[in-house]
């Protein structure tokens, strides 16, 4: 019977080519616009480390100005980053399964190879745990040992890209690499790794590329010539006249993450933070009310408002657009079924029940939905190519994946059903005798 309906549906679509094209176009354009907006939104708000996002916690301590909160707009919040001295203190604890302090900086890579001119590379200084916490895949070698986190040594992990640039993609573990005027030993080379959003540091461009080079955080103390290139915020009037002065200042610039595997561990770590701050309060720091926060990676993107309001506006407008397309299709279907009334009542007279009639037209509408969905996917490809042409972060935030393709088909079917239910219902209500009198 389904095949018969399918044949009838095709016949009926062919019978009114303009109307059919209009319907498919309406659904298709609606889906295209919707999917374009939705894809960017979906990728912006994606969880880049789904396996661990409930175990990794961003650590915040409220070390800000006693006279005003860090943000007037969100007074309940603590600064997003830590001071260097607090980060160093937290690193002493062994409550967390893994933990890492980190910041964003730059180095000049000087290759022995004359053909590769010196270049500026973006650097993340982090602890060895960073790699296992965020599931960073290695192509060669691995992270440095945790002793390096205690006693700084000049070791380096390269991104795949940097390894290709400097070593032509060969296994460079054990090789030397000059950064500025210092020689470092390569201990690991990463696989391609590009979490979107860049959850471990949304302060410095949540959609920026992963860094080119990773260095031990323990080197920070010595890096007076190459400081943080990331966001640095200070509130206190301190007479900073040296790098040491800066390291001991109240300026916040370090991101801090802890891996806590059970609620008990989270509670224990929270208590540890609170104790630490109380201790510091006795020393005259942390004059604000206790506000130490542990936020799971899952919630962090929301808290940090990584998805831009603009993208939410686009999604809401896109769905209103789809609503217009659906209304449009409802109108076209009504018109179409109105023209079919004699045939429907004839079929009813010949023994088609209401259910059969409904099924028949549902198949036709489903067909329109699928065609519209496919057209919509094509248009979404075009739309996303348009979005990608804006470059920057948008070149990463405008790709369809299987989930999105599935969503597109589903939305297409749902909208064509939404468009089709009322007209079909009306069509089925046509009494069998209504249009059989002499014409």
């Amino acid at each position: 019977m389904f095949r018969y309906y399918l044949r009838l549906a095709l016949l009926s679509l062919k019978r009114n080519p303009i109307l059919s094209t209009l319907m498919v176009a309406a659904i298709g354009i609606g889906i295209g616009v919707c999917m374009t907006a939705l894809t960017v939104y979906y990728l912006m708000s994606a969880d880049p480390i789904p396996a661990k996002s409930s175990q990794l916690f961003a650590v915040q301590l409220d070390s800000w100005d006693p006279n005003q909160p860090v943000s007037e707009a969100r007074p309940e919040q603590a600064p997003w980053q830590l001071t260097y001295r607090d980060a160093m203190a937290l690193r002493e604890s062994d409550i967390a399964t893994h933990e890492t302090a980190m910041y964003y900086s730059a180095r000049i890579v000087v290759s022995e190879n004359e053909a590769v001119p010196p270049f500026l590379a973006w650097v993340r200084l982090a602890d060895a745990d960073f790699f296992s916490m965020f599931g960073v895949p290695f192509l060669y070698g691995g992270p440095w040992s945790s002793e390096v986190d205690e006693t700084a040594r000049p070791v380096v992990v390269l991104s795949k890209r940097t390894n290709e640039q400097v070593f032509g993609g060969a296994n460079s573990v054990g090789s030397d690499l000059q950064l500025d005027d210092q020689i470092y030993r390569v201990v690991g080379v990463l696989e391609e790794w590009n979490p979107i959003p860049k959850i471990y540091d949304v302060n410095n461009g949540p959609f920026n590329d992963t860094e080119d080079i990773f260095l031990p955080f323990s080197l920070a103390e010595l890096a007076s010539d190459r400081r943080s290139e990331g966001n640095t915020s200070c509130w206190k009037d301190e007479d900073i006249t040296s790098y040491t002065g800066f390291l001991n200042s109240e300026c916040v610039w370090i991101q801090y993450w802890a891996e806590l595997d059970s609620p008990a561990q989270v509670r224990e770590y929270q208590a540890f933070l609170d104790n630490y701050v109380r201790e510091q309060q006795r020393l005259g720091r942390f004059e604000r009310p206790l506000n130490n926060r542990l936020t799971s990676a899952r919630d962090w993107l929301d808290v940090r408002e990584v998805v831009r309001d603009d993208n939410r506006v686009l999604v809401s407008l896109a769905f209103m657009f789809l609503a217009v397309c659906v209304l449009n299709t409802v109108g076209l279907l009504l018109a179409k079924f109105a023209g079919k009334a004699p045939q429907i009542s004839l079929r009813r007279a010949l023994g088609a029940s209401r259910g059969t009639t409904f099924a028949q037209y549902l198949v036709e509408i489903g067909l329109v939905g699928i065609a519209g969905g496919l057209l919509g996917l094509g248009l979404a490809f075009l739309g996303l190519a348009g979005v990608r042409s804006f470059e920057g972060e948008y070149s990463k935030l405008a790709h369809l994946d299987p989930v999105l393709v599935g969503a597109a088909i589903l939305i297409a079917l749902l909208s064509s059903l939404a468009a089709g239910l009322y007209p079909t219902w009306r069509a089925c209500r046509i009494p069998p005798a209504a249009h059989l009198k002499t014409q």
Partner: protein, 237 residues
């Protein structure tokens, strides 16, 4: 075969209520050929629609083939229509998009026959109405009489127990009308009960029995009322 008692049908519109049938009673026996006559607006089509389960009625009872069909739900009604009743309309009512073969196929699809059975029935009924060679034509390529014969083939393909015809010859010239009537008589001779609405007294005379409807009621003055014995004889023949 078909028994209505005290059936009433009221059409309600915003302005008026029309009593299309009132206290309507009729009994059609198996194998009969009945003509229904009456002035325009008297309720003939209404009677036929109710008999064919195209419309519901307001009061009274209706037994079709011994089954009370007055209170069936839509699915059952559709089923009964499909299996027991064949329709022929004055306006042919073929589906313009479908060819002759597919038009006859429509009720068989709803019946759920397999492809071979459908083909057999379509071909044999088309042969019966003399259109075996036209099965790939679309309705617009046929004459009025041919179209009506396709409609008859469609009505017959499912081997209905009863054939309901509303002025089947109304749109045809007298020669064609006679041919169609002969076809219908032929079908009746094979045992199918026939109820035919007609304005044409000559056609009505050719039926075995005729009922006359005036103002939604069966008139007592039934012009031709052959003895019941004859009908019995015919039915058992």
């Amino acid at each position: 075969m078909l028994k209505m008692q005290h059936v009433s049908k009221i059409y309600r519109t915003d302005l008026v209520e029309t009593h299309a049938l009132r206290d309507f009673g009729v009994h059609v026996r198996e194998g009969e050929f009945i003509a229904v006559t009456g002035p325009s607006g008297s309720g003939k089509t209404t009677f036929l629609n109710i008999a064919g389960l195209l419309e519901t009625f307001d009061g009274g009872s209706y037994l079709l083939d011994g089954e009370d069909v007055g209170r069936l739900n839509d699915r059952r009604r559709s089923r009964v229509r499909n299996e027991k009743i064949g329709f022929i309309f004055q306006g042919f009512n073929l589906i313009p998009d479908l060819n002759v073969f597919d038009n006859v196929d429509v009720p068989l699809r709803y019946r759920g026959f397999d492809a071979a059975e459908r083909r057999r029935r379509i071909e044999s009924t088309l042969d019966l109405v003399g259109l075996g060679s036209r099965s790939k034509h679309i309705p617009a390529q046929l004459s009025g009489g041919q179209q009506q014969r396709v409609a008859i083939a469609r009505a017959l393909a499912g081997s209905p127990r009863i054939l309901l015809a509303d002025e089947p010859t109304g749109n045809l010239d007298s020669l064609m009308a006679r041919q169609i009537l002969e076809l219908i008589e032929d079908i009746n001779a094979r045992g199918t009960t026939i109820v035919m609405v007609t304005h044409d007294p000559e056609l009505a005379r050719r039926a075995a029995r005729s009922i006359h409807i005036i103002d939604g009621k069966v008139s007592d003055l039934e012009p031709f009322d052959p003895p019941a014995v004859a009908i019995e004889a015919r039915a058992s023949a």
